[in-house]
């Protein structure tokens, strides 16, 4: 695992998130559930808790949009870059964007939202890309079965190095 330069991290344990633009590929309820499950992977192994809000500015602002979408990193259409996220910090820190030119699913078909969201939230919490091919934070997308999915060991060690573990060992 790796951390960003200077090891930025959130200095609180309750982190809010807000989804401002949903994908039409899934129902809003399905997106809310998948995003919640992705955050749960991290709250299972760290003291962090995540709360969805529906108005105002959250710590982590989330949107689905294609092409140019308000930052300096426009998406590139179908394939290629699937999503990106900022490292922790004030303002746009932690903000997470999904390319809505992809087809988002909850299955093996096209791009699985839970897996990509969990990867991006790793960045939003301070994890950099990992060279471990089995890690969630490996840069390229590869589907794995998401039934009962847990954070791989490499990623768990990486996030616990920043925030500690939920259950002291």
């Amino acid at each position: 695992y790796g951390h960003f330069h200077g090891k930025p991290r959130w200095r609180k344990t309750l982190i809010t998130y807000r989804i401002t633009n949903y994908t039409p590929d899934l129902t809003q309820s399905q997106v809310d559930t998948a995003i919640g499950q992705a955050f749960q992977l991290y709250s299972d192994v760290t003291p962090l808790n995540f709360k969805q809000v529906s108005s105002g500015t959250a710590d982590i602002m989330i949107l689905f949009k294609g092409g140019s979408h308000g930052d300096f990193y426009p998406f590139d259409g179908r394939g290629g870059v699937l999503a990106h996220a900022n490292s922790p910090g004030q303002g746009q820190g932690g903000d997470t964007h999904f390319d809505d030119d992809e087809t988002w699913t909850l299955t093996q078909r096209s791009v699985n939202l839970l897996l990509v969201a969990a990867h991006e939230f790793g960045h939003a919490l301070g994890l950099d890309h990992s060279r471990d091919r089995r890690a969630l934070m490996y840069p390229t997308y590869q589907y794995v079965n998401t039934n009962g999915y847990k954070l791989p060991d490499d990623d768990r060690r990486g996030v616990q190095a920043l925030y500690g573990s939920r259950t002291p060992v």
Binding site: L82, S87, T140
Partner: protein, 81 residues
């Protein structure tokens, strides 16, 4: 003198330059006065990319490296910010 036939297409070369520019550095400079520097940067960035993904580190673009570059991926740089 004998020449080595390129193993990748011009389109794949363009893809590689864009990929390395996005995720490994600042390749893509076209000003002729710094073209040599850019070429050197391309080779170095390519080596860094090949090392990151556990590929054979040659600094030369080949089909195996291009295949990795074509894979869907996260938009965050592989070089720590």
């Amino acid at each position: 003198a004998p020449t080595i036939a390129p193993t990748v297409s011009p389109e794949e070369q363009d893809l590689a330059e864009a990929y390395l520019s996005n995720f490994y550095g600042d390749v893509g400079v076209t000003n002729s006065s710094v073209r040599r520097l850019a070429k050197s940067s391309f080779n170095l960035d390519l080596q860094a990319m090949q090392a990151f993904f556990g590929l054979e580190v040659t600094g030369v673009l080949n089909n195996e490296t291009v295949e990795v570059m074509k894979a869907p991926r996260c938009g965050v740089s592989d070089i720590s910010r």
